[in-house]
């Protein structure tokens, strides 16, 4: 006999096996999901969920696909939350402090309550990366926010109206494009290909019968 627990999906009580995740518990209860379900593997942030366990005032946030149900769980899904994304031309912006002031000035209204960090479904230090973004320290902001799945729970808890995931994304794009060191070997290889350096070899390979390709493949040298 399966061990069952009682959960409250949007307040309504259902008895479900305790081995299920919140997402599979909803399906067990009869929900056919369209909203609030994406990759089902913890990468897309579609299934942001807020819950409280009966008798405990602590509010928790999680991804429904990555969280097992417990007895007395009150579940509210957050399939959409209005995040304010500002539009920019990545070719024209520069990794300077003023770009955050222009696009996301509300980050300077952070009151330091840390509700974002407490709510993060990925256990990131959200308030800290916002602080780095305020100071124009984009590389660290990028590093600290890297595992963000953009579920938006942080923003739902923010009294200053900050859209943390988009601030982080801007910091990361600035870092990837402008602050990370250039890869000389990549630039060189792109140029070599443009110059046709490999063209003759490639044409020869493409014309080879399968038997010859097999010979090449089975005897290739593998880098240690």
């Amino acid at each position: 006999m399966e061990n069952m627990v009682n959960v409250f999906i949007m307040g309504k009580k259902y008895e479900v096996p305790s081995s299920l995740t919140i997402m599979t518990a909803m399906e067990y209860a009869g929900y056919k999901l369209v909203r609030g379900c994406g990759c089902r593997n913890g990468f897309c942030g579609a299934c942001a969920t807020i819950y409280r366990v009966k008798g405990d005032n602590q509010l928790h946030a999680c991804l429904a696909c990555q969280t097992q149900v417990v007895e007395g769980m009150y579940i509210a899904t957050l399939p959409f939350f209005p995040l304010e994304k500002k539009v920019f031309d990545v070719e024209k912006i520069r990794p300077e402090e003023q770009i955050m002031m222009q696009l996301y000035p509300e980050i300077y209204k952070c009151i330091g309550c840390n509700a974002c960090t407490k709510a993060c479904t990925q256990e990131l230090n959200v308030m800290q990366y916002i602080a780095y973004a305020q100071r124009g320290e984009y590389e660290i902001a990028a590093e600290e926010s890297f595992d963000c799945v953009m579920c938006g729970v942080c923003s739902s808890r923010c009294p200053a109206g900050i859209t943390h995931p988009h601030v982080a994304l801007l910091a990361r794009r600035l870092t990837g494009k402008y602050l990370a060191p250039e890869s000389a070997h990549l630039t060189d290889r792109v140029q070599e290909i443009k110059d046709g350096t490999f063209e003759e070899l490639m044409q020869k390979l493409m014309g080879k019968p399968v038997e010859e390709l097999k010979e090449l493949y089975n005897n290739r040298e593998i880098e240690k």
Partner: protein
């Protein structure tokens, strides 16, 4: 949480771990691989495939579940759809909001076309988002597109279409540069050198990564770029049938709002199918690492419109899906875990294969170890698994490596109280990738005028087995390619009168073949509601 058997076996692994460090297990010979695949790879189980009885691939074999959908009834059967007043009109219609669709949208926008993306869930709800390990490109001095070509050809059992593979490998470095210049944060050393590793079947270390969030990082940036450009994205709306014109060209699609059920008509000069894979069809009952909407919709719509499938009978089972705990059963454990040192070990602590064989060979070898040799570990609910010895990683590369290089894996297991730095994990193959799909030429077109395909919905790039890191690569290379060409083509197209007669004609063929049943397709979403 762990069973007695697991704990006992973990102890054996612990005792033998030091002896594995520095070990270089022998690779299988070509003959050994062939024999192994024939006996243990799911693609070789004949009764799991059916012969198609209608359509352009009549006589070819495809998985049973796919055959059912390809020869099913249309969702619009018997409906009278007014095509005279389209709800949307655009130059380029892109079906699918994953990496291929987004790349296509950006390039079509660069080409000056009016672009619209339609996606049945949200933009970015796609397998791209879940690709963990990395993206291949031959950009190191000891590597070349030619070596990449041979690796992929061999991995694909020499069935890859040469002109597609040529494009994939020669445009790979430029694809990486394009992403880098859009702001994707690749793992680099301080001097800018890309941190690259091996994938199964590669002969050079050419796997570029963004921690183990490679696909997520790429998808977040591409989506952001699509939004920055103001490209129209119609989400929670599925394409359910292609529309043609009276000249036989593709001219748009019938759409359906996923929430309200309302049908809509989109008219377009060119259409790009970028609908991705089919893991949620759960071929042969396998769990899957794919996203919720991976149901082969594009293959169904394309096939009904007359486009041909190539290698639709070959699927990729990723060797390392989660076997335990049950809550994340079938989820992907990135190949990168093996790239950075973890070995596959059976319940007696034996290394039974080189951990970096190609995926089909690795999956078959794991299945053999469990089914034939009885060396799997019971997962507690009827299944079996093989150990992936993750603690080896930090013995080789030092403490902190796992958190730095594979944080998503550490987090995923951590939620169930499993610290992968300390204990090994149980894995078993999971349905991961659709090797085959709709056939295209090097310009991204099908045999049907104005119809393009990009990404996982394409067949032929990877032959009969894809190498790790060549899929993130193909969505970029072929997504951009399709976007560019579809925009160019759209500039000089005049459409005739729109029609859905091909759908009715196909239905007649199905009926004539005596196949009429109660299945409708495309499937759009799997049904996981408890019955």
């Amino acid at each position: 949480m762990f069973t007695e058997e697991m704990l006992k076996s973990m102890k054996i692994l612990e005792e033998t771990r030091a002896s594995r460090i520095g070990l270089e297990p022998r690779r299988m010979t070509a003959e050994e691989k062939e024999a192994l695949l024939a006996k243990f790879h799911p693609d070789y189980i004949k009764e799991q495939f059916a012969e198609l009885q209608v359509g352009p691939n009549k006589g070819d074999k495809v998985p049973l579940e796919l055959a059912d959908l390809l020869q099913a009834a249309s969702r619009i059967e018997g409906m009278d759809i007014d095509l005279s007043a389209p709800d949307y009109e655009t130059d380029v219609l892109i079906i699918g909001g994953g990496g291929a669709g987004a790349s296509a949208a950006i390039e079509a926008d660069n080409g000056g076309a009016k672009v619209m993306v339609v996606t049945k869930l949200r933009m970015g709800d796609a397998n791209t988002m879940m690709a963990e390990g990395g993206i291949q490109a031959a950009d190191k001095p000891n590597d070349s597109p030619a070596i990449h070509y041979v690796d992929a050809m061999g991995g694909g059992h020499f069935a890859n279409k040469p002109e597609l593979l040529y494009k994939l490998v020669t445009e790979a470095p430029d694809a990486i540069k394009w992403l880098n210049d859009l702001g994707v944060m690749f793992d680099k050393t301080e001097d800018g050198t890309m941190v690259t590793t091996h994938g199964g079947g590669t002969s050079r270390k050419r796997m570029h990564a963004c921690r183990d969030y490679s696909g997520a990082e790429i998808m977040r940036v591409l989506r952001d770029e699509v939004l920055n450009r103001g490209i129209e994205v119609v989400d929670f709306t599925a394409a359910i049938e292609l529309i043609k014109d009276d000249k036989g060209q593709v001219a748009g699609a019938v759409l359906q709002n996923m929430e309200t059920g309302k049908l809509l008509v989109a008219k377009a000069k060119t259409v790009i199918i970028a609908t991705g894979g089919a893991g949620r069809l759960h071929y042969q009952g396998f769990p899957t690492s794919n996203h919720y909407g991976a149901t082969a919709d594009g293959l169904i719509m394309g096939y009904r419109a007359g486009a041909k499938l190539l290698y639709a009978d070959t699927l990729q089972y990723h060797p390392t899906g989660v076997a335990f705990p049950q809550q994340i059963f079938g989820a992907l454990v990135t190949e990168k875990v093996r790239s950075i040192g973890a070995m596959l070990v059976n319940k007696d602590g034996e290394v039974f294969m080189n951990p970096l064989e190609t995926r089909d060979v690795s999956a078959a070898s794991i299945i053999r170890e469990c089914k034939e040799r009885g060396k799997g570990v019971d997962t507690g609910d009827g299944g079996q698994g093989i150990w992936l010895d993750t603690p080896m990683i930090e013995m080789i590369h030092g403490e902190g490596t796992i958190e730095k290089r594979i944080p998503a894996m550490m987090r995923m297991y951590g939620k169930y109280g499993i610290d992968i730095r300390k204990v090994p994990i149980l894995i078993y193959p999971t349905l991961h990738y659709q090797n085959g799909g709709l056939e295209i030429g090097a310009d991204g077109t099908t045999a049907i005028d104005n119809l393009y395909v990009a990404g996982e919905a394409v067949g032929g790039i990877h032959g009969r087995n894809r190498l790790m890191g060549n899929s993130l690569l193909d969505i970029i290379v072929f997504g951009r390619n399709a976007g560019r060409n579809a925009a160019k083509k759209a500039a000089d197209i005049s459409l005739g009168e729109m029609t859905l007669s091909h759908v009715a004609d196909f239905a007649k063929e199905v009926e004539a073949a005596g196949l009429k049943g109660d299945i409708v397709s495309p499937k759009l979403l799997p049904d996981y509601v408890r019955k």
